[in-house]
């Protein structure tokens, strides 16, 4: 909210600090002042009044009170001595009826007759303009002025335009008009002062006359009883409304005003009277007229100041600094809070009703802290038991797997937690399995991501676009252009049934290469092996991908180039090439274009991975005896899987076969149709002696024989 520096000054005899210093003082003890701007002879301070201080500080008097407490100066409140006309009685002119006293705890009104509506005097116009309010006419301007000064929103009706219970147009003056505070009825409508139409409902509190709503209570006035040049009788309203009711109404109508904003934050019900008298006084002074006798005041449950007991030792304990009783009492005196002696260890503090934010001892301690200055509190390390922190096992495995992938040349990305409608369609996710956002910022963020894959593929697309250009600028991207290796570790969200919601971690990564080669699959498979082994998971294996009917994953993977990664019979993740259809849909590749490459993805359920992971690791003794290597090439039908051959070698070879390493898969020239040639290094080693060539040859021959026993397998010597 913006404040006029000169206006605040007007409450003091003593000169205020200079605007900048004043702003600094407020910032460190009350509210942040985000801007100080010179406007003519005045300065405008943009003060971020804290929301709990709205009730007392959305007003110049409020800021002046803060200033008085901080600078120990005396505040001089504006005087508004009212002269009532004994010949006129307010209650003869208007009757007020409040239907719901919870929604409207207080309603005060005054009647002023014989006013002369005209433009405001210059000083008044200036004050409003400095605070960003457009002057309209003297009556409306006074209502706004008093709101800026006191924080109490006011409203002015043209009394003659209000309807009374009996319709006698000839006897409008002197007849009893009616104001009813009630909730709107269904299908009631109102046109506001700015000529906007609003449909009302029974959640919206209105000010009505005998017939119809004439204002949306606490939010905006209606056009019918508008003050105009012909207005003679002004009915001033100064009321207190329930903050929740106003907030709800303002939200429903999509209408926020200076008044609704103040009411939402709560206002002291005792303020209405001060404000209405101030306004009536100014109306009489500026627009003339006679103030009818009597304040119309509906106030069934008067609010009294509360008293809070403050334990002095607790003040020191919470702030962490010793503050003397004398100083504490002094601070409350500066705030003008009456004090009562309680005992030597505590005091009783009376809190004025305008301080709606103070109800607990902690609230009072905040007042002591900020007014004496948080800067006075020293930094003292706490004295606590030396308890080591709990180990966060989730974080341990997260960090380990991130480090493994980083060391393997992968870069980590963080993507949005959302996917778009379009992505959901491309990946054929079923809407019933997705978590949908009620109020998304855009269609791009309609659903929570059910997998990390869609956004990672988006990263591929974006980076493809960027890399060629960056290559020109700096040589270091050259190699990067041929491939993209990225991963993400983050939460994914799914819904199996409306009440069964999953939020779990996923570890997903990919390799993108321009050359389309089966090698890419094996490269990433090697990464998966490394990851699993480093996480202490040894009994994993790769199974042929079998899409389940309800699986939307069907469309993600190329079914012939995908593996399910398993431990025992539990599936923990997938490894495979992304289907061409998806790559085309995402415009990563065009089927017609030459630029066909491929993307291989691994996708782990990190929760499962972590459950299987194991930190225990046992050392294997290193053999003292030399190892010998023999090569072996075998020609087999294309459909034979490497694993079958490896198993055969290992089983036949027994413990002396230390390792088997596939170093070449070859099809093509010189190889018969429908066959492939696989070449292995077999490493022989014993723990107890040096193996002689004869011994090695014997096992090697045994292996060859075992392989050749298979139909159509042929060992090439």
């Amino acid at each position: 909210m913006v404040f006029s520096y000169n206006w605040i000054q007007s409450f003091f005899k003593k000169k205020l600090l200079k605007p900048k210093e004043f702003a600094e003082l407020l910032t460190t003890h009350s509210f942040e002042v985000s801007e100080v701007k010179r406007v003519g002879k005045d300065f405008v301070l943009d003060v971020d009044v804290l929301p709990n201080r709205g009730p007392d500080c959305f007003s110049h008097i409020g800021i002046a009170r803060e200033c008085a407490a901080l600078t120990k100066s005396k505040i001089k409140y504006p005087k508004s001595k009212i002269i009532e006309d004994k010949g006129l009685k307010a209650k003869d002119f208007i009757k007020v009826e409040v239907k719901d006293q919870k929604a409207c705890p207080r309603y005060t009104a005054r009647v002023i007759s014989g006013v002369k509506v005209a433009p405001s005097p210059k000083w008044l116009k200036e004050k409003l303009k400095v605070c960003g309010i457009r002057p309209i006419n003297n009556i409306v301007d006074i209502a706004n002025f008093v709101m800026l000064e006191t924080g109490q929103p006011l409203h002015a009706f043209d009394g003659e335009k209000l309807e009374g219970p009996k319709v006698k147009p000839s006897a409008s003056y002197g007849a009893s008009k009616k104001i009813i505070v009630r909730f709107a009825k269904k299908r009631e409508r109102i046109v506001t002062l700015d000529e906007e139409k609003y449909d009302l409902n029974d959640n919206i509190l209105v000010i009505a006359d005998a017939k119809k709503p004439v204002a949306i209570a606490g939010i905006k006035g209606g056009i019918i009883p508008e003050i105009d040049r012909e207005t003679k009788i002004v009915v001033l309203e100064s009321a207190n409304f329930n903050p929740q009711v106003i907030r709800r109404g303002s939200k429903k109508l999509g209408l926020k005003t200076d008044a609704s904003w103040r009411f939402e934050h709560g206002i002291d019900p005792n303020l209405t009277e001060f404000a209405i008298n101030r306004a009536a006084f100014l109306v009489q002074k500026i627009a003339g007229g006679k103030i009818a006798q009597g304040l119309i005041d509906f106030y069934p449950k008067k609010v009294y100041p509360k008293k809070i007991k403050l334990n002095l030792a607790y003040v020191d304990r919470l702030l962490g600094v010793k503050i003397s009783k004398k100083e504490i009492k002094n601070i409350f005196r500066r705030l003008n809070f009456p004090l009562y002696e309680n005992s030597s260890r505590s005091i009783l503090v009376e809190v004025p009703t305008f301080r709606l934010d103070l109800s607990l001892p902690e609230d009072l301690i905040e007042e002591i802290g900020r007014i004496s200055g948080f800067q006075k509190i020293p930094a003292i390390l706490p004295l606590v038991s030396l308890i080591p922190p709990k180990r966060n096992i989730d974080r341990f495995w997260e960090n380990l797997s991130r480090d493994i992938l980083k060391e393997a040349g992968f870069s980590e990305v963080y993507n949005y937690s959302f996917i778009s409608q379009k992505m959901a369609t491309i990946f054929e996710y079923r809407p019933k399995n997705l978590m949908e956002i009620e109020n998304p910022m855009s269609l791009e963020q309609k659903y929570l991501r059910p997998s990390l894959i869609p956004n990672l593929l988006k990263n591929v697309k974006e980076n493809m676009k960027n890399l060629p250009a960056s290559r020109l600028r700096s040589g270091q991207w050259q190699a990067g252009f041929k491939e993209i290796k990225i991963f993400e570790l983050g939460k994914i969200f799914r819904k199996d049934t409306p009440s069964k919601i999953f939020e779990k971690r996923s570890l997903t990564g990919l390799i993108f290469k321009k050359e389309k080669k089966a090698e890419n699959f094996y490269e990433l498979k090697g990464i998966c092996d490394l990851l699993l082994e480093k996480m202490g998971i040894s009994n994993f294996w790769y199974d042929t991908y079998k899409p389940t009917p309800e699986d939307s994953k069907i469309s993600i993977w190329d079914p012939k180039k995908c593996a399910e990664i398993k431990v025992d019979h539990q599936e923990i993740g997938f490894l495979g090439e992304v289907s061409l259809k998806i790559l085309e849909d995402l415009k990563i590749f065009s089927a017609k274009g030459k630029q066909i490459g491929n993307v291989v993805v691994f996708d782990f359920d990190f929760e499962k991975l972590q459950k299987l992971a194991c930190e225990e690791h046992e050392f294997l003794p290193i053999s003292k005896y030399p190892a010998a290597i023999r090569d072996l090439a075998v020609l087999v039908p294309l459909e034979v899987r490497v694993e079958e051959i490896l198993n055969k070698i290992e089983i036949t070879g027994g413990s002396l076969v230390r390792d088997v390493d596939l170093f070449d898969i070859y099809t093509g020239e010189e190889i018969p149709e429908g066959k492939k040639n696989l070449a292995f290094h077999i490493i022989y080693q014993s723990d107890i002696k040096t193996l002689s060539s004869r011994e090695i040859d014997k096992i090697h021959q045994k292996i060859i024989k075992a392989l050749e026993k298979e139909k159509e397998w042929e060992v090439r010597k």
Binding site: E32, F374, Q375, L381, P388, S417, I437, E462, K485, I486
Partner: protein, 344 residues
């Protein structure tokens, strides 16, 4: 005296050959010829045992001497030859040290991962445990239990993304503070925790706002934890994080779940407090919101506020990373652009 003559001849021959030798290979051949297993001198030494003792001693001495001389000659010659080779290599081979090194293509950890690790490490060293909580949260944990009632203007601080259907009252957490409640429900004080995690806001994105970002929540509760203690812990954090001696100041603020509440400012890293464009000429940078745990929060988790007190704070991790690496746009963190990510 046949032996003696033989030895003399051998000596002459060997020395001549050694002198002539052009390379190490030839020298090796010479060594084998005279001193190898079947070398000429070796053979003489072996044949000695057939001789009479007196003769054996005399000739043996002479032969061993010859062996030593030849060995020494070969060693000297070898040294010379090696020196020659070295000189040649030295003459021929050069490295242009200005030519570029061979490219290694390392992977990279996201800057937020790195900053988060750093902050976690600092707090863990002060005895704070790292705790996490769910990203999908209930209205109760995100708001009500934190003393933010419905229809309260304070809720406007946290523009919320709600999940469908709305009657389930599920939302994407707007801050990490719900974990304060979740943790205290199950773990009685004394306690020291930090809670890093992703949070969400229904907010238009720009250079300093994102729809999802990271926060680090802190909570320390014990019998008499004070604002003075908070100050000391936070000063240690900034000092360790930025590796500079840094001043902080507390300004009054308002959060429904703390009382007293304050905003924590730190001396501007760019100007050191003199005032510059980075800190809007104030000399201070706003770092976090904090305060002393509100009695209503203790009540919400079933603790008696008379028994416990402590501080809580919430800090933007993205902001910390932006300051550390001088990044000017938060959106870079979530764009997956490798030109950005490969710099970390």
């Amino acid at each position: 005296m046949e032996y003696m003559v033989k030895l003399k001849l051998l000596k002459k021959g060997a020395q001549k050959e050694i002198k002539k030798a052009k390379d190490l290979k030839e020298l090796d051949r010479i060594f084998r010829k005279y001193l190898g297993k079947r070398g000429k001198i070796t053979q003489i030494l072996r044949s000695l045992k057939k001789l009479k003792k007196e003769k054996r001693v005399k000739i043996g001495k002479e032969a061993n001497l010859l062996k030593k001389i030849i060995e020494e000659n070969i060693r000297e010659k070898a040294e010379k030859l090696k020196e020659k080779v070295r000189a040649e290599i030295f003459k021929k081979e050069r490295i242009d040290v200005t030519a570029p090194g061979k490219k290694v293509l390392p992977g990279h950890l996201h800057p937020l991962t790195q900053v988060q690790r750093r902050v976690e490490e600092i707090f863990q060293s002060m005895g704070f445990s790292v705790i996490e909580g769910p990203e999908i949260e209930t209205e109760w944990y995100n708001f009500d239990a934190l003393n933010i009632p419905k229809e309260h203007p304070a809720r406007d601080f946290w523009d919320t993304l709600w999940l469908k259907p709305k009657n389930q009252k599920l939302l994407l957490r707007t801050h990490t503070s719900p974990v304060q409640v979740r943790y205290m429900e199950k773990n009685p004080p004394p306690l020291r925790i930090i809670v890093p995690g992703r949070v969400f806001r229904h907010e238009a994105t720009d250079a300093s706002h994102e729809v999802n970002f990271y926060q680090i929540e802190g909570l320390m509760v014990d019998k008499d934890i004070s604002i003075a203690n908070f100050k000391a812990i936070i000063q240690k954090l900034f000092k360790r994080f930025f590796e500079k001696s840094i001043k902080i100041r507390l300004r009054p603020s308002y959060f429904p779940f703390t009382e007293p509440s304050f905003e924590v400012d730190m001396t501007c890293l760019t100007c050191g407090g003199k005032g510059c464009s980075a800190c809007q000429r104030t000399g201070w940078m706003e770092m976090m919101g904090a305060g002393m745990v509100h009695p209503n929060v203790f009540k919400a988790v079933g603790l008696n506020p008379r028994d416990w007190q402590g501080f809580a704070f919430g800090m933007g991790l993205d902001r910390l990373a932006m300051m550390r690496y001088k990044i000017n746009d938060i959106r870079l963190f979530y764009g997956g652009d490798l030109r950005f990510l490969k710099q970390f």
